[in-house]
């Protein structure tokens, strides 16, 4: 249990530091794509990533650096993608909003609000189709709850008992529009309950309950009990897009005694809990910070050093296969279909 918490802390720290690093380097204008940071929102990715198995599947959103990293996505490939490099995770064709790392089953992200949700359900459909033991985690924000496709998907997922967990990070903002101007109720999870889905509501920075809810939801999905909806209230400390941010982003590595305001930082909260339990000490935090900083700088340097656009003609990536499909070798004898209903038109003789 504590080992999980330390791992969650490490993943949150890594996400926080990567996002700050991106914000710091962004004005150099080498990363030239719309970039949605997740400062303040590190907890859900870290918890979900830490408790998932490597072969579980994640599907993300336009704000998914955190989800990608938490699942184990390659950091250099992330930076390379932001730099438009052919060595990026999407070869520079996707940018910040389209991240993928299939080695760790991070299956991609959509820049259309709610767009990834049915795709995640489709991945879960395949798992059920093949009786595979994995599960799928679909990330969404509060604005996605305004998209019809989310309800359509929830219905399908319930109907087919898909091994799927919806994680709604409710930051109450759609770009800058507050949720009160957009939704009939600012609480989101209960409407899925009325559809028959189990759901959890997690207040801001209630790390213990978040961990518990994710654990239970994963177990439910794995045991064939179907989908679960988790609503987690978060604060977005950054602008919708771009390197502008506020909030207590730097408090976590400062001495708990010296820094006040840590009560709104998920990293500080988990850190303080672990220190109070005697699981880690403040030295640990300092060395973690140095270690992650080193990793980030090395990864960025490597990505920047090789940052050239893809050499191939990007048109080569429009289609996966040629014009002629190939029939698979037949393994079973072919039965004839018997047709009972037939309308035969007068146009028969036209051919």
């Amino acid at each position: 249990m504590n080992a999980d918490k330390i791992e969650i802390l490490k993943r949150m720290v890594r996400i926080r530091m990567v996002e700050l690093y991106v914000a710091q380097r962004y004005p150099e204008q080498k990363m030239r794509c719309p970039t949605h940071l997740c400062l303040g929102q590190e907890a859900a990715p870290a918890v979900c990533g830490c408790l998932a198995h490597r072969d579980d599947i994640f599907v993300g959103t336009c704000r998914s650096h955190g989800h990608y990293l938490a699942k184990g996505g390659d950091l250099t490939a992330l930076f390379a993608e932001l730099l438009g490099s052919g060595k990026g995770c999407s070869r520079g064709l996707g940018g910040s909003m389209h991240l993928i790392d299939q080695d760790v089953n991070f299956w991609g992200t959509s820049a259309i609000v709610g767009g990834g949700i049915p795709i995640a359900a489709g991945a879960a459909f395949r798992l059920r189709y093949e009786n595979a033991p994995q599960i799928v985690v679909a990330f969404l924000g509060d604005a996605a709850i305004e998209e019809g496709v989310v309800y359509e998907t929830a219905n399908f997922a319930l109907l087919h008992k898909l091994p799927l967990v919806f994680i709604c990070e409710n930051n109450a903002l759609a770009i800058t529009t507050p949720i009160e101007l957009r939704q009939c109720s600012t609480v989101l999870h209960d409407r899925f309950q009325t559809m028959g889905m189990s759901s959890f509501y997690i207040a801001e920075n209630d790390m213990a309950k978040l961990i518990q809810a994710v654990r239970v939801s994963y177990d439910r999905a794995r045991s064939g009990l179907g989908p679960t909806f988790i609503e987690y209230k978060v604060l977005r400390w950054c602008a919708h897009v771009g390197p502008v941010f506020g909030g207590p982003v730097e408090l976590w590595w400062q001495s708990p005694a010296a820094a006040s305001g840590g009560h709104s930082c998920p990293i500080c909260i988990l850190r303080d809990q672990l220190i109070a339990e005697g699981t880690i000490d403040f030295e640990y935090i300092q060395s973690l910070r140095q270690q992650v900083q080193r990793e980030i700088e090395e990864a960025y340097q490597e990505a920047e050093r090789d940052a050239e656009p893809i050499r191939q003609d990007p048109a080569a990536f429009v289609y996966a296969s040629g014009l002629a499909g190939e029939l698979p070798g037949r393994t079973r004898p072919m039965h004839d279909v018997e047709f009972h209903h037939a309308e035969v038109s007068k146009l028969v003789n036209a051919f």
């Binding site: 599907v59 990026g88 995770c89 999407s90 070869r91 520079g92 064709l93 996707g94 389209h98 993928i100 299956w107 991609g108 959509s110 259309i112 767009g115 949700i117 049915p118 795709i119 995640a120 359900a121 489709g122 991945a123 459909f125 395949r126 189709y129 496709v149 359509e152 998907t153 399908f156 109907l159 990007p314 990536f317 429009v318 289609y319 996966a320 014009l323 002629a324 499909g325 029939l327 698979p328 070798g329 037949r330 393994t331 079973r332 072919m334 039965h335 004839d336 279909v337 018997e338 047709f339 009972h340 209903h341 037939a342 309308e343 035969v344 038109s345 146009l347 028969v348 036209a350 051919f351």
Partner: protein
């Protein structure tokens, strides 16, 4: 014994054989349990493959399209059937923003082997929201293959080709074509994308027809033949990619091109074909390219109005005659 199949049966047979050959193929649609079997096009599938592989869908076109995308990304080969092409508008976010772009926007690391079967209604007053031929719209987007088979042989071969290709494929099936019967191979076979079909050869004019305009074009060619004119009829089959070579070769020979489409001419595939021919054969044409399509209005429901809405063999023949003679020499005249 000859293996005769209607268009609907050819589709059902292709799906059946694909599902026999590969467990990853499944069908999802509305009405899979109905005794009409989606106009016969999924007959025999449920009984043979069961509810796990013949999935009845909620009326949630976009979610189901997205679920098919997710399943396809996982290596399954979904066949999504919408009883009317018009319903695909509800699924366009998943089909256009997602399915058509995933292979590209993730740098080729993932692919979406998805077939979407769209049935285009006509006859019995289908009206404005059940009659739209959407091939031109789908053809506008890179990343999709778009085909419109006109006969059972092509329908079966294209469907098998689409199921085992690794890209999203949109197949527009003309409801009027469903009853057309033809002797086809019993075995599974493929018809590649990007190939138009020369239905009959001729020397005076090329008539390129789309989907259920092909039989009308054949009627027109027969009529023209009786009048001593020789028309070459081409079934377009593939809307994206376009078989430019077949069309250009034909028009080089005939010097004239008439495009007949089931959809609107404005920004439609008939405009694209005309543009390509003018770009490549400017100066070799003996008359300007002409297009005969439905009028630029929604489809009317009333029987008489609907009948007048679609080009007929007689109109095609008349238009072709005018092009061959020159309009001034050959004013409109009644034809049989």
């Amino acid at each position: 014994m000859d293996h005769s199949r209607t268009y609907a049966q050819a589709i059902a047979e292709a799906t059946y054989q694909a599902m026999e050959m590969d467990d990853s193929v499944f069908v999802v649609g509305q009405g899979t349990r109905d005794r009409g079997h989606i106009f016969g096009s999924v007959e025999g599938l449920l009984a043979r493959f069961g509810p796990e592989r013949v999935v009845e869908m909620p009326i949630s076109e976009n979610a189901v399209a997205g679920i098919c995308v997710g399943a396809a990304l996982s290596g399954l080969r979904p066949v999504l059937v919408l009883q009317r092409a018009d319903f695909s508008f509800l699924a366009l976010d998943q089909l256009i923003n997602h399915a058509s772009k995933f292979h590209y926007m993730f740098g080729g690391r993932t692919s979406v082997p998805l077939v979407v079967r769209l049935i285009v209604g006509k006859g019995w007053g289908q009206g404005p929201q059940h009659s739209q031929s959407l091939h031109s719209m789908f053809a506008h987007f890179p990343g999709l293959r778009v085909v419109a088979p006109a006969d059972p042989y092509t329908a079966k071969g294209l469907l098998l080709n689409g199921i085992f290709a690794n890209d999203p494929v949109v197949i527009l099936e003309g409801r009027p074509s469903y009853g057309i019967a033809q002797v086809i191979p019993a075995e599974p076979y493929t018809v590649p994308f990007g190939q138009a079909r020369v239905v009959q050869e001729g020397t005076d004019i090329t008539i390129v027809a789309v989907s259920f305009m092909v039989p009308e074009a054949i009627r027109a060619a027969d009529e023209l033949g009786r009048e001593g004119r020789s028309a070459e009829v081409i079934d377009l089959v593939s809307v994206n990619p376009l078989d430019v070579d077949t069309i250009i070769t034909s028009v080089q020979k005939t010097g004239r091109l008439l495009v007949v489409d089931t959809s609107w001419s404005y920004c439609g595939i008939s405009a694209e074909i005309s543009a390509v021919v003018h770009e490549k054969l400017f100066g070799e044409l003996q008359s300007p390219v002409r297009r005969l399509t439905i009028p630029f209005t929604p489809a009317p429901a009333a029987f008489e109005l609907e009948n007048r809405y679609y080009p007929t063999g007689v109109q095609i023949a008349r238009c072709a005659q005018q092009m061959i003679c020159g309009v001034e020499l050959c004013p409109d005249r009644p034809m049989s």
